[in-house]
Symmetry: C2
Subunit: 203 residues, 2 copies
């Protein structure tokens, strides 16, 4: 209950700031504000879609921050590509491998904590228009991070900053906090038909 | 029935070529082949995910072709960004606007036909590792293109070339032909809550 009340208070504070911005009646920026998007589900495309948004943001001249909470979970191709733009993109890969490969909970918690410190820094930077928290849902689902702290830091971000959170098993509290939630559902998958992961598609 | 038999024959031909490639036992390429992916559903992320794959492919040094069947349907930010890489990316925008804005069926059919000629050229180019057919599903759903011709051209592509088709209302025949199908389902959308489209997210 206390946590919930805290969250309500934070939400109210953010809404008040949002209202203050709107009240300022800045032309065009009247209802511009950063969205929190969640890409959930068991299908493909959660991370790819976030990285498509990175391309989009770069096309608009924005600066972007990416934190990958699980190394190896996302494409090496995308990382290689976006690292070509160090002036616009800050890219961090945390952890040392899949959680189901490491099987060391304390190490995973420590890694996730370090990754969150990086994320917090990006979430506090007004110069960054888009923050991608790739596979954050996995870290939250496993309890590697304090949900309340994560929600607080996201909610405290600059008003115009967009955040995308990806990964299976999005927690209800995050979905509640989000502006837009997309569920990527698996309809059919080549892997299931015995096809090897393909470069340029899977990694 | 005749169409179905033709499709079966084409499929068999492609499978035979695939088998021939595998039989050649080229190390590592043993089971490398181009996938057909379909991003369907009413949620966000269908095109973004395809463009994330473009970034991924570029990171691997591949060349990429993009045909947008509906101008204005996708992000101007992504187009602006990827046009920075003319050596690796060929980008074509077809049509003159949303179909529901033009309300001129014959013009839309002509536009779609022209767009498909561009797509066919990309689908015939062995040097291109990934072809994105953005919003093709819309053109197919409205009957602006011959489904059978489209499936034939996709199936006849170079064996290692990946194809991604996006858009709502994917036809069953395309889903049947696909290796991987992802349904992007809308769980929650900021628009519905009265929020204006945001730069870097929606366009």
């Amino acid at each position: 209950m206390a946590e919930s009340a805290e969250r309500d208070a934070r939400h109210q504070a953010r809404m008040q700031r949002k209202k203050a911005l709107i009240d300022a009646k800045i032309a065009q920026a009247q209802d511009d504000y950063g969205l929190l998007l969640v890409h959930a589900g068991n299908g493909k495309g959660k991370s790819s879609s976030a990285f498509g948004m990175v391309a989009r943001a770069l096309g608009h001249g924005m600066r972007v921050g990416v934190v990958q909470f699980i190394k190896g979970a996302a494409s090496t191709g995308e990382e290689a590509f976006f690292r070509r733009f160090p002036d616009q993109v800050q890219w961090f890969v945390m952890g040392e491998g899949f959680t189901w490969e490491t099987q060391d909970r304390q190490r995973d918690i420590a890694m996730a904590g370090e990754a969150w410190q990086v994320a917090r820094r990006l979430l506090a930077d007004e110069g960054i228009g888009l923050v991608v928290l790739d596979e954050l849902n996995i870290a939250l689902k496993h309890g590697y991070l304090q949900l309340d702290q994560v929600l607080a830091d996201i909610e405290a971000r600059p008003l115009l900053q967009h955040v995308v959170v990806t990964g299976r098993g999005a927690l209800p509290e995050l979905i509640e906090a989000a502006d837009t939630v997309t569920e990527m559902a698996l309809v059919k998958h080549a892997f299931k038909a015995g096809v090897k992961a393909q470069k340029g598609v899977e990694f």
